[in-house]
Assembly symmetry: C2
Homo-oligomer: 306 residues x 2
């Protein structure tokens, strides 16, 4: 028999158990998500999708990365800038310049001399932490997750959030996208972006603005060669990975606009999914963990079924 959790043939043997008359084993988190009802999924507006096409790989294969931008009230100053940069086609011809193992992949203008479009906002330090408007305020924590970095954490509106006192902020989980900056907090325009490709660097929370998350194609960034320069920057121009274009999805022809949806955290299936992430009871597992950290309960996202 093949190595089960860890092999393809094993996955098939789970799908077709030898003893079909036995009671069905507890479902895995993935099986719970697959069984969610259509109305438990929330469509993501095409106007909130940033589509990055890298130059084709060495075999001529397309490399598309799709990023969902965060909704208000978070980071809207930077997200406004990002919309302007995409509309100006500013990123076309820039590149992935930094890939640091177990940390981030980062892109933008490697020369740092390309003129920025007119009218980008300077975003103040306070925007790293957002207070949710009073009418929507509630103590986070219905997922009952223990967190090392905040008083409470939860998934709200489709995003992983943390809370201490009356301050809320988005958290640096795998795939989250943030705004590179210099030492001064107001130096990030949104032209320089990164995504997390390793263990959640939660020490960056409240220190760098998060603006979205990669919902498709992160493997085109996470599997790039690591840079050998300081901080994982590529040591030579030849190593940089060219960006063909970055567009808001509504600026693509309607027929090729990507369509995604996420599982509502308010749904019964999400509650079952989160519980199963914290307590694996499917057949491979011996000891359910009895808990999970917020970044181990990623929000399920999928292409919208036709």
């Amino acid at each position: 028999m093949k190595h089960l959790l860890l092999s393809a043939a094993a996955a098939l043997s789970l799908a077709f158990p030898l003893h079909a008359q036995d009671a069905a084993p507890p479902p895995s988190p993935g099986e719970i998500v697959d069984a969610a009802k259509p109305d438990e999924w929330v469509p993501i507006a095409a106007s909130d999708l940033l589509v990055m096409d890298l130059a084709p790989d060495a075999n001529g294969k397309a490399r598309r990365v799709v990023i969902q931008l965060m909704p208000a009230p978070f980071s809207q100053g930077w997200i406004g800038n990002i919309r302007k940069l995409a509309a100006a086609r500013w990123w076309d011809g820039t590149s992935i310049n930094r890939v640091q193992d177990n940390y981030v992949a980062q892109w933008g203008d490697a020369t740092e001399k390309k003129p920025l479009p007119q009218g980008l906002a300077t975003v103040p330090e306070g925007d790293y932490v957002q207070r949710v408007p009073a009418a929507e305020e509630a103590q986070l924590g219905r997922l009952r997750l223990i967190d090392a970095y905040a008083e409470a954490v939860d998934v709200e509106g489709g995003w992983p959030l943390a809370q201490s006192g009356d301050l809320y902020w988005p958290v640096h989980c795998y795939g989250m996208v943030g705004v590179g900056r210099n030492l001064s907090p107001d130096t990030g325009t949104g032209a320089e972006l990164y995504t997390v490709i390793g263990h959640a660097p939660r020490h960056l929370d409240r220190n760098i603005a998060l603006v979205g998350r990669v919902i498709s194609g992160i493997e085109h960034l996470s599997s790039l060669p690591r840079g050998t320069g300081a901080l994982g920057f590529y040591a030579t121009e030849a190593e940089r990975v060219p960006i063909a274009s970055i567009r808001i999805a509504t600026d693509l022809p309607p027929a090729v606009q990507p369509k995604f949806e996420y599982l509502s955290a308010d749904s019964a299936s999400f509650a079952k999914y989160a519980d199963a992430r914290a307590n694996r009871r499917d057949p491979f597992f011996i000891k359910p963990a009895g808990g999970a950290d917020i970044c181990n309960v990623p929000v399920p996202v999928r292409v919208r079924p036709k």
Copy 2:
């Protein structure tokens, strides 16, 4: 495993340095490690290093991965098997067969038909959790880290450990190496190994045996193309990455044996480093996190200076 409690006074002096007006900015975690004294570093025995040489990359460049095996009492049944497999040169000509994004890279015999050496042990389920011998028992927790998966976590003897009640176990941080198995807990021999290349999959703790960690060259695994088959297995034989050899370092010629050392968790520099990981005060940071998870306090490891 010696247990050295950090005094409250020492913790306070770390948190509130007396001479805040001094010119030099607070050091980063990396600067603290760089300033550690030579006697705060602990040499790693060559007999505890597993050296994996992949086939050279497309540019003819060597790819070496060095793994430190865990000390007793953890997982010694599997580690005995791993020593036998390396001595028999069993892995030579096998391959990396699975790379699943934000999860694991896995290697072994893709055909699962290669005969194993004589005399491998069958390791019982109980060995996934190890009770530390009574004389050395102590409550973990001097790092004061909050954990979502256990009552306490700490770095002891150079390894990240968790504890609930009187049970101790190693944890699945980035780079940790474990033993693939089938559904039955006793089916993992050690011939099929994986390493974590994403956010710590702590739900695997106490469910799969951990046997070591990658201390050098993990980028040769983490940057490999992701497999497109189920669970990230490579869909075709051509995609697999050949393993030239795996050896215990003492079986390599003395002149080319790798020499590494780790920063003792009992050292003053480690205490300062761990505090700085939880509370970044170096100039880039606006808000120190006020905490860290165990996998965000990785044990510093370096090549031994000549």
